[in-house]
């Protein structure tokens, strides 16, 4: 009987405690403004303009895109200012895309990212993107029956999955930012006539945008970047009327570092199996295939070397060549490597095999 009384007592105590003062705020999902995209634009000095876009769900199952803009110096201050104008509290737990305009990217934006990393409600899979246009402008437009944040994130997600751009998100950005011997690279997006699209891949030194890889060169970058990759496509022009489009079926990339931490040559070996998607020069026979293999090999090696040279000049290392060296040396010295990096001869050796030509030859 005594036990029963204790149990009832416990229940009573806990019940009264619970109904009273747990002191936590409810965040009912439909009473929140779920920001899906946040855009930051440089105004002057420390001042930035922040725009968030969020979906407004209407009862007829349509989604309307809405935005709020505020200007301040501190990230969380901005949120408060936006909240002043908002019907429901704004939360960032469903953030999908973070946009920085080019000016801010060139000045460096890690402080802003830092406040986002500190916030436990923001996931690591958020896309960080540089925008060539005014974020406010892009975010306030509606594209289809969804809010702009989801729209942008779908574009990036889709392109990562099909293999056109390398994987990117907040975690990878911070990884590369902190990594010794590797620098971040994130997509640059811009408005076009039919919506928003990925224009290039922006390369960073620390958190500052220093260079970019254009659309056409992404193929080479992607094959060099991933140790195993597939799905990249490229158009090649042999001359004015000989054109072909190829797709990378499967490629592997290996580094050969003969003498780490010295001026000795670093070799990047790429083996790729490719397939023809489009060809407009009559029948494809064995000779032509062979010819094409050689052509692609040459072009690949040239282009890659050119890219790497650009990286070296700009002092950025998006491929992680430094990381390759670091994991091959004991007593890694970052300073020494930073001095060495611009002058190391880096060569690319490609081995291309055309395996398929589609349904017809």
């Amino acid at each position: 009987m005594g036990k029963l009384r204790i149990n009832i007592g416990l229940l009573a105590v806990s019940a009264t405690l619970l109904t009273g003062c747990m002191g936590i705020e409810t965040q009912v999902v439909d009473e929140l403004q779920l920001a899906t995209a946040a855009g930051f634009k440089h105004i002057k000095d420390d001042e930035i303009e922040a725009t968030i876009s969020f979906p407004v769900f209407l009862t007829d199952k349509t989604v309307k895109n809405a935005t709020l803009t505020a200007t301040d110096t501190l990230n969380k201050e901005l949120r408060d200012r936006q909240n002043l104008k908002s019907e429901k509290p704004i939360v960032s737990g469903k953030l999908e895309v973070i946009l920085f305009d080019r000016q801010l990217a060139e000045r460096g934006f890690f402080d802003h990212l830092d406040s986002l990393m500190r916030d436990p409600s923001i996931g690591s899979k958020v896309f960080v993107v540089v925008l060539d246009d005014d974020p406010k402008d892009v975010l306030s437009k509606q594209y289809g029956n969804k809010d702009t944040g989801i729209y942008l994130s779908n574009i990036i997600q889709q392109n990562i999955e099909t293999g056109l751009i390398p994987k990117t998100n907040l975690h990878l950005f911070t990884y590369n930012y902190y990594a010794e011997g590797k620098d971040p690279a994130i997509p640059i997006m811009a408005q076009s006539r039919d919506g928003v699209g990925i224009r290039a891949l922006g390369l960073f030194k620390h958190d500052k945008l220093v260079h970019q890889i254009e659309k056409d060169e992404l193929f080479f970058y992607k094959v060099l970047f991933d140790s195993n990759s597939s799905g990249e496509t490229m158009a090649i022009k042999f001359n004015e009327d000989k054109k072909a489009s190829i797709i990378n079926v499967e490629s592997t990339r290996k580094y050969e570092v003969l003498q780490p931490m010295s001026n000795a040559e670093i070799k990047i070996k790429v083996k790729a199996k490719m397939m023809i998607r489009e060809y407009n020069n009559g029948l494809l026979n064995k000779d032509k295939m062979k010819e094409m293999e050689n052509f692609i090999k040459k072009r690949f090696e040239e282009k890659s070397a050119e890219l790497i040279q650009q990286f070296q000049q700009k002092g950025t290392d998006p491929l992680g060549i430094g990381e390759q060296v670091r994991t091959r040396t004991r007593n890694w010295d970052k300073k020494k490597w930073d001095e060495l990096y611009p002058n190391i001869p880096i060569t690319v050796q490609a081995e291309i095999e055309m395996i398929e030509s589609g349904l017809i030859n």
């Binding site: 149990n7 619970l18 747990m22 409810t26 009862t59 989604v63 469903k94």
Partner: protein
């Protein structure tokens, strides 16, 4: 009344003292209007017969007793006159009283005053053995217990024709005088378990036992737990197999359900039909049932917790579905959920209280009309409606009815905790449940037995059911004296005669 007195006065005035209790008894009996008594003139003087009409079979009375009894000379000759084997002659007043109330009639003649003959002629109006309704099975035996202890014992004994099958009869209830039988197989069942059960039963202090479920509530280890700690079943085959596993069964007169002890949590999710199906199918069904229980307990609380506190957890593709469905609703998720859960409980309760046919209509009307209307009126979201309906459906898959009720009950504390502290509350409730289950025992044996303490011997037939040869040993929980059921090696071998092809 007067007539009885006159007999006594005429024939034997001396024995007045010894007659006193008998006199009192008679007085008591005659007070009831369904007690019939009349006097004959027989070969040996006056012959009196008395009985309760409501308890005596008129056919036996008219065909076997009345025609033969007239020539009675001495009370001790009853045996030779009446073709009924169950005749006692006694002067013990309590015995007379009990027998009268159990369907005996009493006969006494003036010659042998003080000696009463008791002839058994009970009317048998229990219902026939019928198809099990609570634990229905598509395949397998289709007989279930009825309200008569004798018939029930017969059903069990038919399945276990063993002299080792022992019963201990105990009468419980100061006014109901219910006969309770404890069944066990000597040499298999653990003596300690039998001892505990009989001990607990005979120690009971209660006036009435109208059903076996009274006993479940009274003799289980923790009476405040919502979890039943004895299985009740209406299937004689289930009782027989439990006895074979070394457990103890209790049958109660007037109750169409027998009890089994000791038991564990997992047995409550065993439908006896599992044993009639292929092991893979049966295992799949069992897993479905366990999933259903977890689903039923957790899904609504998780919905409430996530929508109230943890919007981050909702995948981005689901956000719009959830928000759109919740947009027109003015109530917080907990109210919404409670309204729906209560509606379902009301439907269930109404269906259970009404006659079957009306009940079905209520279910359909309530389910469709109330559900659709409340969504349209903007009181509940259709996503939650689906969730609650599925959770309710899942809770009805529990084979043992009592456990099904428990599961529906424990959802509510989960729901409230989810509202107060979100997922942390769900975890707290879940752990509370785990500790509670760990603390429970059935006849002193742990309630989570094959899982904790871990017993491989029992695991083969708990959450999963492996092929029959794997179950060659009795589960450790029953602590059987002889734990080997059969030879597993021999059971596996199929001794076909060699084929000629």
């Amino acid at each position: 009344m007067k007539r009885w007195k006159t007999i006594r006065n005429k024939e034997n005035g001396k024995e007045q003292q010894g007659e006193e209790p008998f006199q009192a008894l008679l007085q008591q009996l005659v007070n009831s209007d369904d007690f019939i008594q009349f006097t004959y003139k027989s070969a040996a003087g006056l012959l009196c017969i008395g009985y309760y009409t409501s308890l005596i079979d008129g056919k036996i009375l008219h065909q076997d007793i009345l025609p033969n009894i007239k020539s009675l000379e001495s009370i001790h000759h009853l045996h030779s006159l009446i073709p009924i084997e169950n005749i006692i002659v006694t002067s013990d007043v309590t015995k007379i009283k009990d027998s009268l109330l159990n369907g005996h009639m009493m006969v006494f003649i003036t010659k042998d005053i003080g000696q009463i003959g008791l002839v058994r002629a009970p009317v048998d109006n229990t219902r026939e053995v019928s198809i099990p309704e609570v634990e229905f099975s598509v395949v397998g035996p289709k007989e279930s217990f009825v309200e008569s202890l004798d018939k029930n014992l017969n059903l069990v004994r038919k399945r276990l024709p063993l002299p080792e099958l022992k019963t201990i009869e105990i009468v419980i209830g100061t006014i109901s005088k219910t006969k309770v039988s404890v069944l066990y197989i000597d040499g298999i069942a653990n003596k300690e378990n039998v001892q505990t059960v009989t001990q607990r039963l005979s120690d009971l202090e209660i006036d009435q036992v109208n059903d076996s479920s009274y006993l479940t509530q009274l003799i289980q280890d923790n009476q405040n737990s919502p979890f039943p700690q004895l299985i009740d079943t209406e299937r004689p085959d289930r009782i027989a197999s439990a006895l074979g596993e070394g457990k103890v069964a209790i049958l109660v007169d007037g109750a169409p359900h027998g009890l089994i002890a000791p038991t564990n949590l997992f047995e409550f999710f065993v439908a006896y039909e599992d044993y009639f199906l292929n092991w893979a199918v049966a295992t799949f069904f069992r897993l479905v049932r366990f999933f259903a229980v977890l689903f039923s307990i957790l899904i609504t609380p998780i919905y409430v917790a996530v929508l109230t506190y943890h919007y981050e957890l909702i995948p981005k593709d689901l956000v719009s579905t959830l928000v759109t469905s919740r947009n027109p609703i003015p109530l917080p998720p907990i109210m919404e959920a409670l309204i729906l859960e209560l509606a379902i409980e009301l439907l269930r309760e109404a269906g259970a209280r009404l006659p079957t046919k009306v009940g079905q209509t209520i279910g359909i009307v309530g389910g469709i009309v109330i559900g659709t209307a409340s969504v349209e009126a903007g009181l509940t979201s259709n996503v939650l409606l689906i969730i609650v309906a599925l959770a309710a459906l899942a809770s009805f898959t529990t084979p043992v009815y009592q456990m099904g009720n428990t599961i529906r009950l424990i959802r509510f504390p989960f729901l409230l905790m989810a509202h107060y502290i979100g997922l942390v509350g769900v975890a707290v409730s879940f752990i509370f449940l785990l500790i509670h289950l760990l603390r429970l025992s059935s006849l002193g044996r742990p309630f989570l037995e094959p899982v904790y303490p871990l017993r491989l011997q029992g695991l083969v037939d708990s959450i999963i059911r492996l092929p029959i040869p794997f179950q060659s040993k009795r589960p450790a929980q029953s602590q059987a004296e002889d734990d080997k059921k059969f030879n597993a090696m021999k059971a596996k071998r199929i001794k076909d005669t060699k084929k000629n092809d």
